[in-house]
Subunit: 213 residues, 2 copies
DNA sequence: ACTCGGGGTTACCGCAAGTAACATGCACGT
DNA sequence: ACGTGCATGTTACTTGCGGTAACCCCGAGT
C-alpha cells in the first residue's frame, strides 16, 4: 500500500533522526557545546556527511537538539504554572521547577543557553535574536499566562510581555549565579526571588544614616 | 636610569596594547564577534603572532576588549545608582542608563554578552561561569549597593546578592527582547520594569472567571 | 539483467587558531 | 667601533573543524 510504504519510510527516517539526536545528546553532554561533528558522527557509529544530510549543518543539529530539551522543560514549567494553587505558590513552584531542572542537568542547561554561535553573521548584526531561544520561548510563554489571567488595565498585554521576559531573565540570571556559587539552598533562592517579585525591594526600609537605594 | 628605561618600555608596550585593542574594537564592531585574528591584525597593520604575543590567545584579546567596555558601562551605571534622588527614581535612572547604552551601541552590547566561547573546556563543565562576565559584575555591583543601603533584616546580605543578580538578569533579558522587537518606547519599558519591581505583579487583580496567575 | 534510489564512505577544500623559526633594528657594555 | 641582547616583526607551517563532492553498495521494482 502506498500510504504504509510512505509511512514506513517516514518512520525509518525519523527513527534514524532520533537515534542521531540521541547520540549527539550523549556527546554534547560529555564533551560540552564545543563537540565536533566528527565526534557526534563517531558516537552514532557513522560519518559526517550523514549528519549533514539529516540536519543541514551544525546549527540545524543543535537547533533540533535544543528543541527537544526546550520542549521538555517548557512542559514541566507549564505544569507548575497551571497547578491549582494561589498565585504566590504557583510562582514559587515555577521557579523551583526551573531551578531543579538546571540543577539536575547543568550540562543540558549550559548547552541550551549557549547555542550554535552562528559563526559569523553578515554585518546585519541580528541583535535581539542572539539570545538563547529557550529564554525567548519561556518569556513568551510566561507573558501569555500573565496576560490572560491578570487584569492589568489598558496596555496590559504589553506590560505582560515585558514582565514575562523580565521575570524569565531574573530567574535565569539568578539561577546561573546560584549554580556557580551555591550560596544558599534552592528553597531559599526561590523564596528570595518571590519576595523580590512581591515588592519587598520597594517596601524595605533604608539603612540608618543615608538615603536608601 | 633603570626605572625610566623600564617605564619607557612599559609605556611603549602599553601604548601598543591600546592601539591593538582599538584596532580590534573597530574590527569586532564591524564584523561581529566572529572576527578573525587575521582581520584584527590586518586592521592594526601587523600580523597575527604579535597579537598572540600581547594577548596570549583569542580569549585573552576578547577578555581585554570586554573589560574596557564593561568598565565604561559600569561607571555610567554607578553614576545613575548614586544620584541624589529617591529610590524609585534611581532604579528608573539605572534601568534607563543600561537600556540607552545597549540601544546606542548594540554591537558592543552583543559582543559583551557573547564572549569568546572558550572552545572546549575539559569535562569539568564550568557551569555557572559561562555567563557573560558583564552580567556577573553588574549583579555583584548592584548587590553591594542594595546590601549597604537597604535594611533587609537577618540574611539581608544574601538576599541582596540574590536580588542583585536577579534584577540584572531581568534588565538584561527584557532589554535584549526589547532591542529585537521594539514593542514600545524606552521610557515605557523602564516604567514597566520598575512597576514589576514595585510589586505590581502581586497586587494585580485576577481577570474575571478564573484563579489568577 | 538492469537501473534506481536510499544509506554509506573516502577524500578533499577552505579557513581560522595557534606556533616555530627566521629577520631586523635599536640600545647597551666593553 | 663591535658584537650582544632584546623587542618587534615576518613568513610559513601545523592542526583541527565545518562542509562538500564524488564515488560505492545493496536491495526493490520492472
Amino acid at each position: 500500500m502506498d500510504t504504509t510504504q510512505r509511512t514506513d519510510q517516514q518512520t525509518s527516517a525519523e527513527r534514524r533522526r532520533r537515534e542521531l539526536l540521541e547520540a549527539a545528546d550523549r556527546v554534547v553532554l560529555r564533551d560540552g557545546p564545543g563537540a565536533s561533528m566528527n565526534a557526534i558522527a563517531a558516537e552514532a557509529g557513522i560519518t559526517k556527511p550523514i549528519l549533514y544530510r539529516h540536519f543541514g549543518d551544525k546549527g540545524g543539529l543543535y537547533a533540533a537538539l535544543a528543541k527537544r530539551h526546550t520542549d521538555a522543560l517548557l512542559d514541566s514549567l507549564r505544569a507548575a504554572l497551571d497547578a491549582p494553587a494561589d498565585r504566590r505558590e504557583r510562582v514559587e513552584a515555577t521557579l523551583d521547577t526551573y531551578l531543579s531542572a538546571i540543577e539536575a542537568r547543568p550540562q543540558v542547561y549550559r548547552f541550551l543557553m549557549h547555542p550554535a554561535e552562528e559563526t559569523q553573521s553578515d554585518q546585519g548584526f541580528d541583535v535581539g535574536k542572539h539570545s538563547a531561544p529557550l529564554l525567548r520561548r519561556m518569556g513568551e510563554e510566561l507573558a501569555q499566562v500573565i496576560g490572560e489571567r491578570l487584569d492589568l488595565g489598558p496596555g496590559g498585554q504589553q506590560l505582560a510581555r515585558v514582565w514575562g521576559h523580565g521575570i524569565v531573565g531574573m530567574m535565569h540570571a539568578a539561577g546561573d549565579w546560584w549554580l556557580g556559587e551555591r550560596p544558599c539552598s534552592r528553597a531559599e533562592l526561590v523564596r528570595s526571588l518571590a519576595d523580590l517579585l512581591w515588592g519587598r525591594l520597594a517596601a524595605a526600609g533604608d539603612k540608618v544614616g543615608g538615603p536608601g537605594f
